[in-house]
C-alpha cells in the first residue's frame, strides 16, 4: 500500500508588528489581550494596511525555495465564523497567491536526495487563541485572547509527494532549517510552525489532518493516521474523504464531522487592500548561505563527512555553534558535536545555544590532547550540561577532571589494575586462551569498570595481550 502525503505548513514570520496593524508580535510573555488594537480586534470601521516587511520576508522564502513570483497577486477574504476570528473572515490569498511552484531537495531513504515540489506559498493572518473553560453543556464556555490575531503567516503547500512519516519529518526539518537561515522565523516561539497534512493510501480517499501544532508531532500524527487507514482497508471499511483533528495529548486523529464545520468560504478579493505587484523586487532580495550550501562548504572547509556536515547544518544555531569551536580541530569537533553532543541535547530537550562554548571547546581540547578517555569526556559533558540545566555556573573541564580524578590512567598504574583483573577472572582468561571470542571484551570491560572509564580500551587490550603473553 503506497502512502501519499502532502503538507501545508503555516509559519509565523518574525516581523516586529502584525500583518495589517502596528501591534507588536512580541506578546508571549504578556497577559491575554494586551497586544490588541481596533484593527486586530476587528472593531467596526477599522481597515487593514499591509506590513511591507512581511511581504519582503515572504518573498525571501519564495526566492530561497525556488518559487515563481507572479506579476500580480492579491489578498482575499476567507469568510467563516469562529470565536478566534474577530472579523469573521481571515485575510489570506486565494486564487492569486504570492508565489507558485518551487521545491526543496530532501534527504531520501538511501541517503541521497529527493526533490519535493511545492504548489504555492501565500500570506495570511493568524487567528486568536481559544481557551476552553467550565463543564457541562450549560457551564462550558470559551475564553479568547486576540494577542495572536493578525500575526503574519506564510502557508507553504507541498505537492503530494512525500511517502512516509519519516520522510515528512525530514522534509520539515529541512524546511525549518531553511526558514531559520533566512532569519524570517523564530523557532523558539511556541506555535510558530504548524502543520496540516493530507494523507491517503494510493487508490483510496484523501483525509486532511489539521491541528498539528508542533512540528515534532507530525511524524506521530501521520503514523497514527496511516495505521488507521491501512487498518480500515484491511477490514474492508470505507475511508471517507474528511477532515480530522490531531489530538496531541492522546496522539490520535478524530473526525471533525460536526455540522458547525460546514463551510463555504465565499472567497472574494479584499476590497480594502490594493493588489501586490512585487515580482520585480525578488532580484534585489539578498539570500544568506542556505543549509545545502553550508553543508557543502563544511565538507570542503573542514574536511568532515557529508553526513556530519548535513547534521551540523540542519539547524542554524548548531551550525553557528560548530563554526565557533571547529576551527582548530574539526576532525574531533564534527563527530563529537553531531553524534554525542546532539544526542545529549535531545535527551535533555536543551537548545544548543545554552551550551557554554568555552567549556565545550576546552573539553574537546582535552580529548584532542588525549588527557581523558572518551568515556570520561562524555561524563564531563553530561556534568556540564546538567549544571547548565540546573542554572548553576558550569565547571571548566579541567576542574572536573581534577575534582573527580578523571585523568586518563596510563602505563604502570593500568598494568597493575589489569593484572589484578586477570587474577580475579581466571575463567575468562582460560576462555581467552582457549580462543573464545568475546572473552577479551569482557576483560577489557572489567578493567574499564575498575578504572571508572579513565583508561583507553585499546591500550587495555594491548596490556592484556602483553601480560598474557608473559
Amino acid at each position: 500500500m503506497t502512502v501519499i502525503i502532502g503538507l501545508e505548513i503555516h509559519c509565523q514570520l518574525n516581523t516586529k508588528t502584525k500583518l495589517f496593524c502596528g501591534c507588536s508580535t512580541d506578546y508571549r510573555d504578556d497577559g491575554p489581550n494586551t497586544h490588541v488594537c481596533p484593527i486586530c480586534l476587528g472593531l467596526p470601521g477599522t481597515l487593514p494596511v499591509t506590513n511591507k516587511q512581511a511581504v519582503l520576508y515572504a518573498l525571501k522564502v519564495a526566492k530561497a525555495l525556488h518559487c515563481k513570483v507572479p506579476a500580480f497577486s492579491e489578498f482575499a477574504r476567507k469568510n467563516y465564523f469562529y470565536p478566534d476570528l474577530p472579523k469573521a473572515f481571515q485575510i489570506t490569498q486565494y486564487d492569486k497567491p504570492l508565489a507558485l511552484g518551487g521545491y526543496i531537495d530532501n534527504e531520501a531513504e538511501n541517503g541521497g536526495e529527493k526533490r519535493v515540489e511545492l504548489t504555492r506559498i501565500h500570506m495570511e493572518e493568524d487567528p486568536g487563541r481559544l481557551v476552553h473553560k467550565g463543564s457541562g453543556d450549560r457551564g462550558r464556555y470559551t475564553l479568547v485572547d486576540y494577542n495572536r490575531s493578525g500575526v503574519p503567516l506564510i502557508e507553504i503547500v507541498t505537492e503530494p509527494q512525500l511517502s512516509s512519516p519519516k520522510e515528512a519529518r525530514r522534509f520539515l526539518n529541512k524546511l525549518r532549517a531553511t526558514l531559520e537561515y533566512l532569519g524570517i522565523y523564530d523557532s523558539e516561539r511556541e506555535g510558530s510552525l504548524r502543520v496540516d497534512a493530507n494523507i491517503s493510501i494510493k487508490g483510496y480517499e484523501r483525509v486532511e489532518v489539521k491541528n498539528i501544532t508542533s512540528y515534532k508531532g507530525v511524524e506521530k500524527a501521520l503514523t497514527f493516521e496511516i495505521t488507521r487507514q491501512k487498518g480500515m482497508i484491511r477490514r474492508n471499511a470505507q475511508i471517507v474523504r474528511e477532515t480530522r483533528h490531531y489530538q496531541e495529548a492522546r496522539g490520535v486523529t478524530t473526525s471533525a464531522r460536526s455540522k458547525e464545520m460546514e463551510h463555504d468560504y465565499r472567497y472574494f478579493p479584499e476590497p480594502d487592500l490594493a493588489p501586490l505587484e512585487v515580482s520585480s523586487w525578488v532580484d534585489e532580495i539578498p539570500l544568506p548561505e542556505l543549509p545545502d550550501a553550508r553543508r557543502d562548504r563544511f565538507v570542503q572547509q573542514y574536511g568532515i563527512s557529508q553526513n556530519h556536515a548535513r547534521t551540523l547544518t540542519g539547524d542554524l544555531k548548531l551550525a553557528e555553534f560548530f563554526e565557533e569551536i571547529a576551527s582548530d580541530m574539526p576532525e574531533i569537533a564534527a563527530p563529537w558535536t553531531a553524534d554525542i553532543l546532539l544526542g545529549e541535547l535531545n535527551y535533555r530537550d536543551m537548545p544548543v545555544t545554552k551550551v557554554p562554548v568555552p567549556h565545550y571547546g576546552a573539553l574537546l581540547l582535552e580529548v584532542k590532547k588525549g588527557s581523558v578517555t572518551d568515556t570520561s569526556a562524555v561524563e564531563i559533558l553530561r556534568l556540564i550540561l546538567n549544571q547548565v540545566m540546573e542554572g548553576q555556573q558550569p565547571e571548566m573541564p579541567g576542574e572536573i577532571i581534577a575534582r573527580l580524578g578523571l585523568s586518563k590512567e596510563k602505563g604502570d598504574s593500568i598494568v597493575d589494575t589489569v593484572a589484578s583483573v586477570l587474577r580475579e577472572n581466571e575463567a575468562a582468561v582460560a576462555d581467552h586462551r582457549a580462543g573464545k571470542a568475546g572473552a577479551i571484551n569482557f576483560l577489557v570491560g572489567q578493567v574499564m569498570k575498575a578504572t571508572r572509564g579513565r583508561a583507553d580500551p585499546k591500550e587495555i587490550a594491548k596490556i592484556i595481550a602483553d601480560l598474557l603473553k608473559e
Binding site: 516581523t15 516586529k16 508588528t17 496593524c21 502596528g22 501591534c23 507588536s24 497577559g31 491575554p32 489581550n33 494586551t34 497586544h35 490588541v36 488594537c37 481596533p38 480586534l41 494596511v49 499591509t50 506590513n51 511591507k52 516587511q53 512581511a54 511581504v55 500580480f72 465564523f81 469562529y82 470565536p83 481559544l130 481557551v131 476552553h132 473553560k133 467550565g134 462550558r140 464556555y141 470559551t142 475564553l143 479568547v144 485572547d145 486576540y146 455540522k259 460546514e262 463551510h263 463555504d264 465565499r266 487592500l273 490594493a274 493588489p275 501586490l276 505587484e277 512585487v278
Partner: protein
Amino acid sequence: MVSKEDVAHIATIADIGVDESELDLFTGQFNAILDYFDVLDSVPIGGDAAPLRKNVFRDDEVVPSLSHDEVLMNATDPEDGFIRAPRVI
C-alpha cells in the same frame, strides 16, 4: 430559482437564524431580486480590470496597542483578561 432549502442552507453558512415563517417570505423575495440580477447574464466577462492602485504598504513599526481596559470595555463578562465567547466544544 432558489428553494426554501437553499435559503435555509445559506442562513446556516451566514450564521443567521431564519424562522420557518420567514423562509417563504425570503424565498419569494430572493427569487424576484435574483430574477432582476439575471440582467448580468448578458455582461461579457473580460480580462481582469486594471487595478486602481497597487502596492500600498506600511513600515514595520510598532504603534501603541489599545489599553487592556479599552480592549475589554465593550465585551461582556471578561475573565482574567480574556474575552468570553460561547463554548466551541
